[in-house]
Amino acid sequence: MKYPVLFIAVLLIMAALIAGCTQQASTQQQTTSVSQGVIKVGVIASLTGPASNVGTSMWQSAQVAADKINANGGVTLKDGSKAQLNLVVGDDESTATGGQKAATKLITDDKVDILVGGYSSAVTSAYEQTIADNKIPFIVTGASSPIITHRTDGIDTSYIFHHCPTTDTYGHYTTTFIDQVIRPAVNKKLNASNDRPFRLALLYQNTAFGKGIQTAVNDTITKNQLNIVLVSQQSYTMGDSDFRTQLTAIKAANPDALYLGAFPNEGAPAITQARRDIGLNTIFLSPENNDNAQFYKDLGQYGEGSIIESRFSPYTAPTGPVTDDQAAFKQAYFAKFGTYPDMMGASTYDGVFIAAKAIGNAGTTDKAAVKQALVNLNMPQVIEAMKNQTISFSPDFRESGFDLWMEQLAFNQTLGEPRPSIVWPDNLKTTDFVLPSWYTAGSA
């Protein structure tokens, strides 16, 4: 009996050691404390599990931001001394329980001064109670449900600051784009009058994120009395990669376009399966978290004509004040990691700058003072285009305001992947939206 027990014990230890390898490598930087002139910034990201692709970009972007801040001398505190940023990562493992463990570890073991990051609304909202209990400032840069700062269950979110457009914001924005750009184009193609109702279908993840998009689309249509009818609303479980049945149901409803409330690892196979297996030759619209290098790679030729709502892209940028800063960030990121950052990486990069600015303004790492500095924050935009080119948080729900845009993808034969161009709004667009030649409009 001794032998198998010993053997299993060795196996379990090996598993734990291997599991710890990545974590160890990622947390090498955590060797000093606040008293040594160092500000500890905790970064919560999904380094493992289904969202690891986005989470890795968030963590690596935070490192690029910290490198830049530290290279410029660090953060000036109240007594005139300079402090360097020291990042400590917590892997939420793409799960709610993993998120709780990561937040607790960063706060109680690593004793970080401020938190940045958080991906997936379902995961992030699971550890908001821990944030409230410890009263630590947390700049959320990757979870987009409004629930993050709009909780109605009594959990105090006053230390949480949301630097990421909510599903309300971009659901509304995308529906407006459909009404103002795609609907007229389809009517023109069909020689139909403006009275023809636009037939929109939804395929959404059955989580706070996906349902948030569904709610935003429904609310926008109702409140603005748009001439859009939702012909099919299909859901799926987070992490699914077989959507053929839902897509068959959607095709049977004859939509003019399909809006996917999906993560990149779900959206890419959904669009591929729709075009390749189901023959659903329509316009696919994806939310901003899909503007990710892997998404383009996975889509291949099937991405042609698709639309992504965006605020940061690995492959394009709006002309204006942020163009050069975004290019510099992408270059620094590529030089360090050999890949390109995604959108949640960009907002996390911003998030580290916001954390540094708030601590600098407070002149201390005292958590209540830093929270107040975030409430009063009014700083120039960093790399993401913000409303009035300024980062500040709304007084009611502590949300920052972004300038968004819509991209359309065109297949690049040489690269074997699609590439985006901005098609809306008019002040940012580089080309016009077009209906692909293979596009088939829906019918009642």
Partner: protein
């Protein structure tokens, strides 16, 4: 598409999903039938099979349907090593040891794969993407026809192996009565290795077909399919290969039917509703026998 067309299309997607489940569950049942061990890490062999196929495809550009054979061969080897080093020492020492061992293996394989291949989602393009075959009122992508044909061929080959070869007959004998098999001179440890390797090879085939059908994969992809494979072998009857085939088909069709009629969130739940119903009506599973 009319209602009949939609119904047939949903049935077809169920058949496709069933093929993946059948291969995974048949492999699991083969191992359980012979060795009577519970291996929760079986989904990890599907994941490794997917990665081996994808890696060879990315490096060489060889048709992934050809790589399936290579992937199965590699998994026979990996399975044999795992059986010899991990499961054989604990055979007969209690189910708890098997459960903890297989849970440990899940972590080792998942993290090992993440270290080798990274943990980002990946996908593979089939060389037959865009080719469709008219089947009655449906227009079916060629890939799914190939997947169904491959599954059928693998199952026929397994049937012939078990029925017509000496080793196959020894496996069946060991499955029916391990002590009896030992008494008549069968080397049951050799049979264990072969059974485990074959079970892993079937999981590798499932992984390859998963990859070429356009589904994304990462090191953590095996857990859910493994849980479903367990539900299938319990529905079909522990140790029964016909049970695994019928159970896999039932699961695939029920899941897709539920996703269409009730919504996508019921897709996973319906598998376990069927499991509960089958266990209440027939505790030994559809094809199980008392005492198994």
């Amino acid at each position: 598409m009319d209602n009949l067309g939609i119904f047939l299309q949903i049935m077809f997607w169920g058949l496709y999903a069933g093929c993946i489940y059948i291969l995974l569950a048949t492999g699991l049942n083969l191992i359980f039938g012979v060795m009577k061990i519970v291996n929760f890490a079986h989904g990890e062999f599907l994941m490794i099979g997917a990665y081996i196929t994808a890696t060879i495809f990315f490096l060489t550009g060889i048709n992934p349907y050809v790589i399936i054979l290579l992937s199965m061969l590699v998994l026979i080897g990996i399975g044999a090593v795992v059986e010899r080093l991990c499961f054989r020492p604990i055979l007969g020492t209690g189910k708890l040891n098997e459960i903890f061992l297989s849970i440990g293996l899940i972590y080792i394989f998942q993290n090992g794969a993440a270290m080798i291949w990274g943990d980002a989602w990946q996908s593979v393009r089939s060389p037959y993407g865009g080719i469709e075959v008219p089947v009655g009122p449906l227009s079916i992508p060629l890939d799914y026809i190939i997947i169904i044909v491959f599954t059928a061929m693998i199952l026929v080959a397994l049937y012939l192996f078990l029925r017509k070869t000496r080793t196959g007959m020894e496996m069946r004998a060991t499955s029916q009565n391990r002590k009896g098999a030992m008494l008549v001179g069968i080397d049951v440890e050799r049979i264990d290795i072969i059974s485990f390797g074959l079970g892993c090879a079937l999981a590798a085939a499932a992984g390859t077909l998963w990859v070429v059908s356009g589904q994304v994969f990462n090191p953590y992809m095996g857990s859910i399919p493994a849980v479903k494979a367990f539900a299938i072998i319990i529905i079909g009857g522990l140790g029964s290969i016909p049970g695994a085939i019928i159970g896999g088909l039932l699961m695939g069709i029920a899941e897709n039917g539920a996703a269409f009629l009730l919504g996508g969130i019921w897709k996973d739940a319906v598998s376990f509703i069927i499991l509960i119903v089958v266990l209440v009506i027939r505790p030994t599973g559809l094809f199980g026998e008392k005492g198994e």
